[in-house]
């Protein structure tokens, strides 16, 4: 990204979008900074609507969406700094990938001959197949062509709607690495997904959208810690599970114990006190702890909790 351009900011403020009586997005507020943010939510939660609002393809029914302080809808100039990779598969089938990316470059006003098209194609590893018509491409290849077209003008903000759709594992890893690299260059990357592993691996921050509302935002581990009305689960491997369990069962902080093969699963409502008490109890019982790991600090359980609330 050019070094002289100011840091991009995306700001979404009390945004709502409704179609008649159907409210797709309801009072959502967040700001984005350079880095990768994942937009998560069940199907129909409004992720796509939110992305389209950020990308300036929808007019907010209330509130405002702005990039660098300017509203995104109705201002084509915003696309100098923003690139969108839409979810719909549709591309121009009669164009080759190269022509498609070149069209994107031309419509962005890039001068010819700067190699931007070739660079973009190379970034998505389509250089070899670039001269075949898009109609002959597989779904994953079309996806990559769209990404190349969105990257060709070196956007400061990149919005991707379900970008890993149709990609095989190798392409997915490559794309994740690409997104991380782009983010490290100071870009704002916002992508949506309903595949939690992808989001967990790439995104620094998550935005969880449920039924049109923002249910949580931030680092998912932090979110987990904030979920105090749900007991935390831990997995322990020790030298003597039973002895330790005997000690634990008497403590009020422990709300459940389960034996699994060679493991002890503990549920506690008071995470902080438990972590202080555990080593003391273990030492007093003469038990060595080999492993203590949070069992449900995955994005999946966070997500699950938020969705069911």
């Amino acid at each position: 990204m050019s070094g002289t351009a100011p840091t991009p900011t995306v700001s979404v403020s009390a945004v709502a979008k409704w179609y008649g009586n159907v409210v797709a997005v309801n009072d959502v507020t967040f700001g984005l900074e350079p880095g990768v943010t994942g937009l998560l939510g069940p199907n129909g939660a409004g992720k796509s609507t939110l992305l389209h609002l950020v990308a300036g393809l929808l007019r907010p029914s209330a509130g405002s969406v702005s990039v660098d302080g300017r509203p995104t809808f109705g201002d084509p100039a915003v696309y100098r700094r923003v690139g969108l990779v839409p979810e719909r598969e549709a591309v121009f089938p009669y164009l080759t990938a190269r022509e498609f990316v070149r069209l994107s470059a031309q419509l962005q006003g890039l001068p010819l001959g700067t190699g931007a098209v070739d660079r973009a194609l190379g970034t998505v590893e389509l250089s070899m197949a670039a001269d075949r018509e898009l109609a002959t491409y597989s779904k994953g290849m079309r996806q990559r062509a769209k990404v190349a077209a969105a990257l060709v003008h070196d956007p400061a903000v990149l919005v991707l709607d379900e970008p890993f759709n149709g990609m095989d594992p190798r392409q997915r890893l490559h794309m994740m690495a690409l997104l991380r690299a782009l983010a490290d260059e100071g870009r704002v990357i916002l992508f949506s997904s309903h595949i939690l592993e992808e989001v967990e691996r790439v995104a620094e921050r998550v935005l969880v959208v449920v039924a049109g509302r923002l249910a949580a935002s931030g680092d998912f581990r932090e979110i987990r810690r904030l979920m105090t009305d749900r007991p935390h689960s831990f997995t322990l491997r020790t030298s003597d599970d039973r002895a330790l369990a005997g000690q634990l069962v008497g403590r009020p902080t422990v709300s459940g114990l389960t034996f699994e093969d060679g493991r002890l699963d503990v549920r506690t409502a008071d995470f902080a006190t438990f972590t202080r008490e555990l080593p003391v109890l273990a030492r007093d019982a003469g038990v060595s702890i080999f492993e203590l790991a949070p069992a449900d600090e995955s994005l999946e359980s966070v997500f699950d909790y938020l969705v069911r609330r």
Binding site: R80, P86, R88, V91, F92, Y94, L107
Partner: protein, 248 residues
């Protein structure tokens, strides 16, 4: 924002989308039907062809059916197909003035229409009246060209405003221009066909014969130009406020 430099790529894209497929053959066939008619008449006609016959063909076949239908298909496909399958998003997510997009579509559809219909009218006219009535042939040509340009502009705009542009366009051509405007003479000034015919009659001058109408040449030209410009302006405005949700 970018200016005229985007027109080239947009025109290129539209041309490939519009003209590169099997569809254009059908449209071409439709447009060249008058030539077919002329050939059949010249070869097999019993009493020879006359200027009067030519005028009737122009009025009842070319201007009533062929020109509007060709313009309808070209105009609604130019942007309608892209809106329908969602690829228009690739055009809208660029720092390109919406007017340029609409202009490119209208240019391509209009030019294709002019090329097809113009050639058809010219060739058919020459076949039918040879060089006996050059004013008539010229008039018919210009009238058809003016009508095609106005029609395509209107139909392109219609495609931006509604997903049912083809039906709406058909209703306009068949119901409005076909029935109402011919029955109620007061509404004649709201019919693109009238503009075309007025221009044709005006240029043909003394050779206009039965094509002559009350509407003068200048009025026809001006109104056609107004309609085209208004269509362009409306289309550009609508596209500027076009919303795309993920359902397309």
């Amino acid at each position: 924002m970018l200016g005229a430099s985007v027109l080239g790529p947009l025109v290129d894209l539209t041309m490939r989308g519009l003209l590169g497929r099997r569809r254009i053959l059908l449209v071409g066939l439709l447009a060249l039907a008058p030539v077919g008619v002329a050939v059949v008449l010249v070869v097999g006609g019993g009493l020879g062809t006359t200027a009067q016959l030519t005028r009737q063909i122009y009025d009842s076949l070319v201007m009533t059916t062929i020109v509007p239908l060709v313009a309808l298909i070209l105009g609604t496909t130019a942007i309608g197909a892209e809106i329908d399958d969602g690829t228009v998003v690739h055009l809208l997510t660029k720092p390109v003035g919406r007017g340029w997009i609409v202009l490119a579509k209208m240019l391509v559809a209009g030019t294709a229409g002019v090329a097809l219909c113009g050639t058809s009218v010219l060739v058919a006219g020459i076949l039918l009246v040879r060089l006996d009535a050059p004013g008539l042939v010229l008039g018919m040509l210009v009238g058809a060209v003016v009508a095609v340009i106005a029609y395509t502009a209107v139909f392109v705009t219609l495609s931006v405003w509604t997903g049912r542009a083809l039906i709406a366009g058909l209703a306009y051509v068949l119901l409005w221009e076909g029935v109402i405007a011919s029955v109620f003479s007061g509404t004649r000034l709201l019919s693109i066909r009238e503009y075309g015919l007025a221009v044709a009659a005006g240029i043909a001058g003394p050779e206009a014969g039965t094509l002559a109408r009350d509407v003068p040449l200048a009025t026809g030209l001006v109104l056609a130009a107004v309609v085209t410009t208004v269509a362009f302006w409306l289309g550009a405005r609508r596209l500027a406020r076009f919303e795309i949700s993920d359902a397309g």
